[in-house]
Assembly symmetry: C2
Homo-oligomer: 340 residues x 2
């Protein structure tokens, strides 16, 4: 059981489900609603805020905050295979917020919308005690993807290299260094993937936590066949080398990127590969879904087997103390590589 879900699910489970809703709780990155009024299209809607990240001190550049807030919400649409219709902005700004920051924030939001050909439809903007931003994204899809649906044997793919989000967080929190940060929601990839995937999720909470979420709603685990080092984005890999950090830390940490992690059934693999090739899109092969509900991978030629939720829960238990969390990761790593 993913610890993060407990509190949220505990609350959202209090409410009934709409008969028009396709997904159950935690079965998709955005809520999916089928309705007579929408002909064959399904309405996708999601809300995502950056309060946690801002409070953790991860972002202090207003442009980055605006840009990231838009992409974070759009990434949930990408993960259900939807294209955006528009966004609602919710903004709370302290009275002493600088005008220049306001302009940078606006530019970040606007440029992110422009890149994705979408629009701020409206919103609710107020003064308040502390800065807070969240965006509701509305979209539509004729072929919605859920987090649910993968079966043992399905191949696992990813829309790009992983680990930059955690590399960014590591540099920021432990070395007060700000790496360039301009994550991009994978809308176009989602529109292709939706024709072939058996399930999909974005990696916004980290790659291992994403697998943990998938394991929650599917009867399977994961065998990662591709060496973890080959999955790492270049800067993340460099930081690991220079700082002597085990590369898997960058896959386990909670500050992900906005890649799509998805599964494809054997029977769809050829068609998927052809479609990807003609669209000029490269996807990383990661491994296979397995019957056993664990996450397996290799570290230093040793086979490691953990519960898919294990490293995510390690973070949840130490969410207010990044250093302690990092130490816990190191302890876990030591227990794996220690000669037995």
């Amino acid at each position: 059981m993913m610890l993060e879900n407990k509190f949220v699910r505990g609350f959202l489970e209090n409410f009934g489900r709409s008969p028009n809703q396709i997904n159950n709780l935690y079965e998709s990155d955005a809520e999916l609603i089928r309705h007579d009024a929408f002909s064959s299209e399904v309405l996708a809607i999601t809300v995502d805020g950056l309060a946690d990240e801002i409070q953790a001190g991860l972002y202090d550049d207003s442009y980055v905050i605006g840009w990231t807030a838009v992409n974070a919400s759009l990434s949930d649409l990408a993960a259900v295979g939807a294209e955006p219709i528009g966004l609602l902005l919710q903004l709370q700004v302290p009275p002493d917020y600088k005008n220049s920051d306001m302009q940078a924030l606006s530019r970040g939001i606007l440029e992110a919308c422009t890149v994705h050909h979408t629009f701020v439809l409206g919103g609710d903007t107020n003064h308040g005690n502390q800065f807070d931003i969240s965006l509701t994204a509305v979209g539509k899809t004729s072929r919605p993807m859920l987090r649910k649906g993968c079966l043992p044997g399905d191949a696992i793919f990813c829309s790009g290299y992983l680990g930059y989000g955690n590399a960014y967080a590591f540099a920021k929190l432990f070395h007060s260094q700000t790496l360039p940060y301009r994550p991009l929601a994978k809308i176009k990839q989602g529109l292709l993937i939706r024709n072939f995937a058996s399930c999909c999720i974005d990696s916004s909470d980290g790659f291992f936590p994403a697998l943990g979420q998938i394991a929650e709603v599917n009867p399977c685990g994961f065998l990662l066949e591709t060496p973890l080092e080959s999955l790492l984005e270049q800067t993340a890999m460099s930081i690991c080398s220079v700082q002597g950090i085990p590369p898997w830390f960058m896959l386990a940490g909670p500050h992900g990127e906005y890649e799509l992690v998805f599964t494809v059934h054997e029977s769809q693999l050829d068609d998927f590969r052809k479609a990807a090739q003609s669209a000029g899109m490269a996807f990383l092969y990661l491994g296979r879904c397995q019957e056993k509900a664990t996450l397996r991978f290799e570290i230093d030629q040793k086979s490691i087997e953990i519960l898919p939720s294990e490293t995510a829960n390690l973070f949840e238990r130490n969410a207010d103390d990044p250093k302690k969390y990092f130490q816990e990761l190191q302890k876990l790593h030591q227990s794996w590589v220690r000669p037995s």
Copy 2:
């Protein structure tokens, strides 16, 4: 110019408009999107939070907060003539929030949804420094209403008696008394009104401020023909009598109710009245739109004429000091009734 709009509009004006969007900024209570995917229906979407009201100390009962948050968002759908599809819940709860409060909050949300036959579709629920709740409401309408569209001569109506919201706030803030509070979004009324109205807005920010908003986007002002006392809800009227408060304060204050304020063109009046009667709905006649961009009404047989935004701006200038705002209202009243 409504002061409240300055900050918000200043920011939201930075962004382009979607070619699919029917309304411009401030022309409707919810954003209205027409899209091929939705056949003849228009998607209506809005987000509304209670942060300001909670910070002002107006609500401390978790049930009331849950109930009101749902109805506040649904009221925006009512004002555009939409029926709800569902809601997204955004909740931030401090770590020491009591379990019993969590249950009461949940009950308030659930019962409000049940009354309106709608659902919490999903959301984003987190721990945070302070309590915060907002709800995104999605709906659909085949006949969207805007705040824009009324002309001089149109009749002004309202879906119910006004002033209870301000009576509640007055009792709470100045006498630490908590009146019963369970406002109800006028969804059904909106579905009838949409067939006849030339413009519509809800009174959630107060009745005079609602007229101020309408004046912002229409080439007209308002002549209130019905005596203001007859528009007042009973408790609001009693409080005015007992406390010696001029009744119009209850129409001017910023803590409104969730009634619909709308206009009907002369040519539609008969049909509107017939439809209302057969639906068993009673609407209050308030007066007429006029060419002059002012708000006119009578107090103590004296004709008063102000800018529609005047009393709303009085509040905005004193938003952090309810007592001072109240004194300013009294000064204004004195200047009107003083023998000249």
